[in-house]
């Protein structure tokens, strides 16, 4: 058996998220189905991130074990011929069996895109959340700096989430603008369920003047979800990259 790591892009619009579900089509199901047909063996994928319905990915990572002897770097070409156009595997490589797409993760980068204008965008409607209010992006960027560092982000999780350890390290958070497009890019060791969408919703609140600056600092101190803004829509969110330690991905000489 060999362990193969895939880097995956998808337009999440038409899927009920990444993770396999009993009665809704997901990205994992489509990929597992095609990989199973390709390798003539049942494939189980282990994804780095369980993206929600409507969330996109330009750099999801997932691994699977296979008895197939297809060269590792050719899996992407082979499976892409079988996939719908809204899912693409952009790279494939062999990794040691000590590597795990989810548990070996060192961090992730997410992007949240907003279309700030009186009218929604037509062409970017599937990738940008429409914000009808003018946004003060300098104020948003300033607010976002309070996220950087190691904090207890208990307030930043969707209610009902049952993670015990809510301490995460945010490496960077940037808000930039180009025309009507406002872009949040955030990198961290890990993110709680809905955390980036809650961050985006809070920044929209701060940027539009509906929330006072200092919301992140207050929420980190209080642990209270109510100190933050609404959860921003799923369509604006894209998983950009999953970070690993290159050493964890190296194949040993024993091969």
């Amino acid at each position: 058996m060999r362990r193969i790591l895939l880097t995956i892009e998808y337009d999440g619009t038409n899927y009920a998220g990444w993770q396999r579900q009993a009665n809704a089509l997901t990205v994992q199901e489509v990929l597992e189905d095609r990989l199973s047909r390709l390798t003539k063996a049942r494939v189980t994928l282990h994804g780095a991130s369980r993206t929600d319905a409507g969330v996109h990915a330009l750099g999801q990572s997932a691994h699977f074990d296979t008895p197939s002897n297809i060269p590792a770097d050719k899996f992407c070409y082979a499976v892409n011929t079988m996939l719908p156009a809204d899912i693409r595997v952009c790279a494939s490589r062999e990794v040691p069996d000590t590597f795990h797409a989810r548990f070996s993760t060192k961090g992730k980068r997410y992007r949240y895109l907003m279309h700030a204008a009186p009218h929604a965008g037509a062409l970017d409607r599937l990738t940008h959340a429409h914000v009808i209010y003018p946004l003060d992006t300098a104020r948003m960027h300033r607010e976002a700096q309070a996220l950087v560092g190691t904090h207890d982000f208990a307030a930043f999780a969707a209610s009902g989430s049952v993670v015990r350890d809510t301490v995460r390290t945010i490496y960077s958070a940037e808000v930039t603008r180009e025309g009507a497009e406002v872009r949040l890019t955030v990198e961290g060791s890990g993110f709680l369920y809905n955390m980036v969408r809650i961050i985006a919703g809070t920044l929209i609140g701060v940027g539009s003047g509906k929330l006072e600056e200092g919301a992140f600092a207050r929420a980190i101190a209080s642990g209270d979800r109510l100190d933050l803004g609404v959860t921003a829509p799923a369509n604006g969110l894209t998983l950009m990259k999953v970070f690993y330690d290159p050493k964890d991905m190296e194949m040993g000489d024993a091969r």
Copy 2:
């Protein structure tokens, strides 16, 4: 009667282009239908550009005459509530009846987006043409400079096009890259049928090394379509802006 000018965005994926057709759904038909319902009078739209099937717009312009007394700047809000999400009117204003969205045009800006990578993009597949070859964007930008100026672009029209005057002025042509995205932006007094897609296809040829540099100069001299590359796919093309003389849009004092 008042003349109203609309600025329109659309995702062209699901339409057979701008212009009304007997047996295919077009952007013009959808807009005319909603504007007619809104104003309770038959609306005929005059668009600046007849974009092809699959071509997008962030700045199409179109005018119509109406007896309606809806304030001119409110048409966009009213009609957007009736439109599918892939068509948005981003602005509306009154213009004098001497103004014509097509005949008053002073120029247009188009954008052509390419995704240059071994695998197609999943998230940008509706707005970017996939180019499987590596592209030398410096070479493409250099080649594009041969377009700038006033030339007879007879070679740059789809075969079967019957325009008599094929002289156009190109104001600027730029090729830039950001990651896998290669972007052509071209501004000119006007464009022949399929001209931007032929320009893009030729630049892809030059950028991938399949065509020699100097193709544009040769085609301008020869008038021969065969000196140029293939017509690039429609989905990469977006009409960005239609330029008018602000004086032509001013309402007189006689109002």
